[in-house]
Point group: C2
Chain length 471, copies 2
């Protein structure tokens, strides 16, 4: 009899694992339990759906449930919520409208993902308070936008400052949190004519990026008429049934709606109840093959820890590529070829209106010191293309290295959208993953031609300057 591979959760990690396992070992029985109706969707695209640049939620789905069932021969059971895992009996229990099923497994993948956090403040349950963690969240937000615009169709105007395209601006909205979701949603809502107020608890947006990047993005948000509140701890989302204002220690800002973009937390309850080890980060602990403390039980994606390529320590950075890659690695392992999915570098990218930014590795001094390094940082701003070339802007690059070893630890980059901060970060991901020094990076023979960069690409300029500081 052939083995059974059971997957809990049908998004990136789960479906990548299911598909890969079945493709590599067609004899395997692959069963996926997904509590919702959507599988394998690009949640990263939700802000652009709300913005109106994507016309249907279906466009975010890379593979449909029918395709998984019919073309990939995966026994996908949507509408099935797994309520218990028994690692001793090697079974999971799932509930659906049809009742309860107990499914035995030979290999199990927990891919339960993460949930948008709701901060512990008053009023988060008021009408008009949204999060953006799921497809249905995206649907609700888009419906809100359409309603607020009086049913006007969501045709995406050109990018630009809020309110300039519409005859009437729609009412003020509040965004709590200046991370990726907060910033992408600021763009999405401003493009639809909303007056956007963005509240960030710390003194900078984009925590984890360099100060230079955060400041460049903050300046640009202001240029785009986003009203930015830094060091602004939100105390209450005030109102009656509906939200009426965002309240901080200093302000009471009237709003018609509020979006919570305050991060995510891993969904670990199932694993915890089954006695599976949870790491210090709060996510499910795994080894390099994503196997948990329970034999033949794997965890991957937004519910699980990864290993950081610079520190070598467990880290929790729930992003799409890692979920996809680790899911795929588990599928390959289960199908008979043990595969490590690789570490994470904490790399992330974001578009904020007409600016793009990326970060990777250890950027701020605190993270580097915690990991035992003595960080030295330099920030440079350089032209993104040859100075004489008719197009172009600037790229600001922050590089951090360890003083003694010269080892490159991390970077943060920002540029105008299209001027390459994000793709340039690719070079640095490679360097930090390979344990390269700043001097190594300085000598990389990067491509050069006037329409793409200066003779020394801004990344090399930054390496040259930091190298000088370290000498």
């Amino acid at each position: 009899m052939s083995d059974t591979f059971v997957v809990v959760g049908g998004d990136a990690a789960g479906m990548a694992a299911a598909s890969k396992a079945k493709r590599d070992d067609p004899d395997l029985d692959v069963v996926v339990f997904e509590k919702g109706e959507w599988v394998s969707y690009g949640a990263c695209g939700l802000p652009y759906y709300v913005k109106g640049e994507i016309q249907s939620l279906d466009h975010l789905v890379s593979v449909t449930p029918e395709e998984f069932r019919e073309e990939r021969d995966v026994d996908l059971r949507t509408g099935h919520e797994v309520v218990a895992i028994d690692p001793d009996d090697r079974t999971v229990t799932a509930e659906s409208d049809d009742g309860e099923v107990v499914q035995s497994y030979d290999h199990l993948l927990i891919a339960t993902g993460a949930a948008a956090t709701v901060p512990p403040i008053a009023g988060t349950d008021r009408e008009g308070v949204y999060t953006l963690g799921s497809m249905s969240d995206g649907k609700e937000l888009r419906e809100y936008v359409a309603r607020a615009r009086g049913g006007e169709s969501l045709q995406q105007p050109d990018r630009g400052p809020a309110c300039q395209y519409l005859e009437t601006c729609t009412g003020p909205v509040g965004i709590v949190g200046g991370g990726y979701i907060g910033i992408e949603m600021a763009e999405a809502l401003a493009a639809n004519g909303f007056e956007v107020h963005l509240f960030q608890r710390g003194d900078a947006v984009l925590t984890g990026f360099s100060d230079a990047t955060s400041e460049a993005v903050a300046d640009h948000l202001r240029e785009q008429d986003v009203v930015l509140y830094l060091d602004a701890e939100v105390e209450e989302l005030a109102g009656e049934d509906e939200i009426e204002a965002v309240v901080t220690a200093d302000d009471r800002v009237p709003v018609d709606m509020a979006l919570l973009g305050t991060g995510v937390r891993p969904r670990t309850a199932l694993a915890e109840d089954a006695g599976i080890e949870i790491g210090e980060t709060g996510a499910i602990a795994t080894d390099a093959y994503r196997e948990t403390s329970a034999p033949d039980v794997y965890a991957a994606g937004d519910c699980a820890e990864s290993t950081h390529v610079v520190t070598g320590e467990p880290a929790y950075v729930p992003l799409a590529l890692t979920a996809n890659r680790h899911g795929r690695a588990v599928g390959q392992t289960v199908a008979g070829t043990p595969t490590e999915g690789g570490g994470i570098a904490g790399t992330a990218a974001v578009k904020a209106f007409d600016v793009e930014a990326a970060r990777t590795g250890l950027v701020g001094p605190r993270a580097a010191r915690t990991a035992g390094f003595d960080p030295v940082t330099e920030t440079i701003t350089a032209k993104s293309r040859a100075g004489y070339y008719p197009e172009g802007g600037t790229v600001t690059v922050t590089l951090t290295a360890d003083r003694d070893s010269g080892r490159l630890l991390g970077a943060s980059l920002v540029s105008e959208y299209g001027e390459g901060a994000v793709h340039r970060s690719h070079a640095i991901v490679g360097a930090i993953t390979e344990g390269a020094t700043v001097a190594d990076l300085e000598n990389y023979d990067l491509a050069y031609a006037p329409p793409f960069n200066t003779t020394w690409d801004p990344v090399l300029v930054a390496a040259k300057v930091l190298s000088g500081t370290l000498r």
Copy 2:
């Protein structure tokens, strides 16, 4: 008495060395002999000057002779041609309109650059035959374009197919050679309304790039109404005083002018005459510090060899970044801090109308086999941004690796202009420089967000596919 550092040649390598040496050791006497009037100019920008996107040759100059003399305290002698080097006496002899000078040196840098080659065919001396190796070449070509257009000002129209902007197309022109210069000049001339005929000796443009890249660029050139002749050995540039036709075995194509873009050869005569060793590549041989066979005599830039980071063997790839970096390293060494300038990866980038391409490392099977590898290659085409994102195109990535070790050897990428083939090559330069395997690259935690790429960046998709082939 302070040391004297003499530099022969005032372009990228020479002026980088002079500036860096003087900055690091202000007591040093730094003397630069340059036979022309221009120093430190961006020859890579010449096609865009001819095109009309850059309005003055001065804009290509990064530092003027006055700035070198007055701000950087470099004794720059333009109009001085060095005619002899005597490594035993440690002197160079230079000629100028004022006569001959003999200058002694403690350290010498030969930075004589490269000259555009003129193929050994009849008619290259006819009027209307141009090369593009120097500022004066650029000036002549621009004057030709202006004359041919009846003195119409060179306002750059939007990019697009030839002849669509002007009321009358100007007469056919021939370009001999389908490398960077040939292709960039095809764009420059087509944008000015010329009917462009491009002749390439081999069966593909962009020798050294992958077949997939070369074909994509060739297809695009044809889309832009460039008439492409492959496998077309030019036998004669026919005519009376003026060129009238490009003649191949198969064709006789009437043209009003012809541009030779058939590569460059290192200017080594001075070094050879001085008994300095020339490498097998035909360029001046150096060690890792760019020191030649003569003590305290360095060579850098387009006249010198470099070491290839993949093969570890000498290679001749005359490009701007290497010239700049090696010149700077020599300056630093001469000023007392011995510095290796690093190897080269043979990285190059080119824009061809609305397409961009890059290559790095060992791409074709022949180069890899010659270096002792057993090459395996895969080519993929993938979306440049999330499929659901409203903007975007495709990136085609060719990756080559060694079968036994899995070591990544090289890559070639092509995309629409702005879709990131060039900046994406940065990741691969790092990987091949660090000796990474394809499996290593596959696990790089590259930045992802829908406006910039798919969850698996096309570079990772290529690594994943090649990894599968190698397994």
